[in-house]
Symmetry: C2
Subunit: 359 residues, 2 copies
């Protein structure tokens, strides 16, 4: 079925309200979550709403958190999310980074005691209206084996960077530090299809094309896939995200990151509190006049967009192009939901006595 | 032949002095350049010394630059390198970042009007002794085609991140944002060997295994190699490095980055001055007490080092392990130089009337 953004907004807001979020928090969480559906990253939007509800039922998510800055310097802060929704904590922390940048050029905020925050790009993009470059990253449940290993040590640990332009739309990169994000495996599972070589390995470290291999003790591979193709670089990137998000803040890092599925037991001997995020904001006029910077970004974007395409390709894309184009379509035509997500959401509706929208 | 670090140091310092560098600048440049040879990144050390000399002969490098901060806020600065050696400008700019971090938690410095700076890791590591996380990146001559393109638009644009620990050696990641660095192609060229699939493409965008393909209008591929394996992520990373280094500072970006080989003409209509770099320093105690952070980094490193290895592999590496182990060996046993580098350096010695060391 297909729902309009407004229908999905009303439903999702009602769900967050039903688990006890304030109106303000429910609004913040709904906007952050649905930014994924609108931008075409279906794995990170309402498809995960029932997962958040189950974490709340398991008392791993606090619907009324006391989110606060626990330490700060002029350009940095540590935020404790009090086990709340990452969807609420992340915009709070990003705003702290933006406020710091307004004062002293840049702001950098590491967050502990938080949960999954939806798509990284949404939070990074908060900086754009302030003529700032925004950055967002998070650690996540361990599904990724380092180069030369068979043990799942890192999450898909995404990085997002949003950079403002003038007349051109902004540059918005948002990507997992693995060859393929977990959401891509989920799509193949639904289709009963194999993965390409280089996405996953089995429990013994052999290459595999089984889209269900994570349920058989397999692992996702770092960006680069294998050593010969630079997987040590993807492993390093995922590690940097883990350290900035969780070691700097006092969250749980590496294989101790709390799992998203509520049925998976929490790791033993966790070295910190909850998941971790990391946010950055840099005022572009802390480097050169903002209009000058944005004019050159227009030039950068136009030059790259006009790069000679390879045969069989019409054009070269700028990071953020596909998601922005999808947003324009879905705000018009609505958001298609696959059957499994619809029945999942209908169960949530029933459980929490929330009205499910008519088609 | 094999030379000791001290022999190579004396020679290199004499070369930089002979082209007109002050004693202080020659010392700074020599240490930065040789850090590559010592750490086993042979493509970026003395193998490039003749290239720097040719850039000086072509008047593209100024041996007596007036390097200065041209704009600043409490946590940021822009440095103009006055066309000097990147090997001298980069340590200057990294020190500005460190000084800013000491004052307000973090420091971020974008640099214009500079040249190649050797290995990024050397500059990032300057932060370690201050209990800071260091970051360094640079744009470079365009050799890399974006995903879906056949045009060379980006350099290999490396990123380095150095993170201090306590008893464990530091975490030091330093990598090109391509599947394989250009230096790896040079090694294969000397051996007359092919590249693995996924490193390069030919002028029409077909996959190629020709290690000489860059001389035939081919291109290096972004980390990920192709769209299915995440090359759009490597393309985004290389773009972010380009924008932070060159658009923020006012250097020349993308395909306009000045080429390293002095015989390649400068691009037309350059939008800025010279190459660009970007440096960052974050005081770890701007987030949590330094000893606490470093204790957790020890724990992080030990846990990852003890991750279960894949069959056929003895151990899992931490970023920085191979280079540190190489440094220990080469400080003892000396630095091996291949014949082509030796004859290249002997020509430099003759041209500048500098004494070439005896074996």
């Amino acid at each position: 079925m297909t729902l309009s953004y407004q229908q999905l907004y009303t439903f999702t807001h009602a769900v967050f309200t039903a688990i006890g979020c304030s109106n303000e928090h429910a609004t913040t969480a709904t906007k952050a979550l649905l930014s994924a559906d609108i931008r075409g990253i279906d794995s990170h939007g309402v498809a995960r709403l029932s997962g958040y509800v189950r974490l709340w039922e398991a008392k791993r998510i606090n619907a009324n958190p006391d989110i606060r800055v626990v330490y700060e310097t002029p350009s940095t802060a540590v935020v404790d999310g009090d086990s709340g929704l990452g969807l609420v904590i992340a915009p709070y922390a990003m705003q702290v980074a933006i406020d710091k940048a307004a004062q002293c050029g840049t702001g950098w905020v590491s967050v502990r005691n938080t949960n999954h925050f939806g798509i990284a790009g949404y939070h990074a993009m908060m900086a754009l209206n302030h003529d700032m470059i925004g950055m967002a990253m998070t650690n996540a449940s361990a599904l990724v084996a380092p180069t030369f290993s068979i043990e799942r040590m890192l999450g898909t640990n995404p990085i997002a960077v949003a950079i403002p332009a003038n007349k051109q739309p902004p540059f918005v990169a948002d990507f997992a530090t693995t060859t393929a994000a977990n959401g891509k495996l989920e799509i193949l599972q639904r289709k009963n299809a194999d993965t390409p070589e280089g996405w996953v390995q089995d429990a013994e470290g052999n290459t595999s094309t089984d889209a269900n291999i994570l349920k058989k003790a397999g692992a996702l591979l770092p960006l680069g896939s294998d050593r010969e193709h630079g997987s040590h670089k993807g492993y390093a990137l995922g590690s940097i995200v883990d350290i900035f998000s969780a070691v700097l803040s006092g969250a749980s890092y590496g294989p101790w990151a709390p799992p998203f599925p509520a049925y998976v037991p929490m790791p033993q001997n966790m070295p910190g509190k909850g998941l971790g995020h990391f946010f950055g904001a840099m005022r572009v006029d802390a480097f050169r006049p903002a209009n000058e910077f944005k004019m050159h970004m227009d030039n950068w974007i136009q030059r790259f967009r006009s790069a000679t395409p390879a045969p069989g390709h019409e054009r070269v894309l700028i990071p953020g192009d596909p998601e922005r184009e999808m947003e324009a379509i879905r705000m018009q035509e609505g958001i298609p939901l696959v059957d499994s997500v619809v029945s999942d959401l209908q169960q949530v509706a029933e459980k929490l006595a929330v009205i499910w929208p008519k088609d």
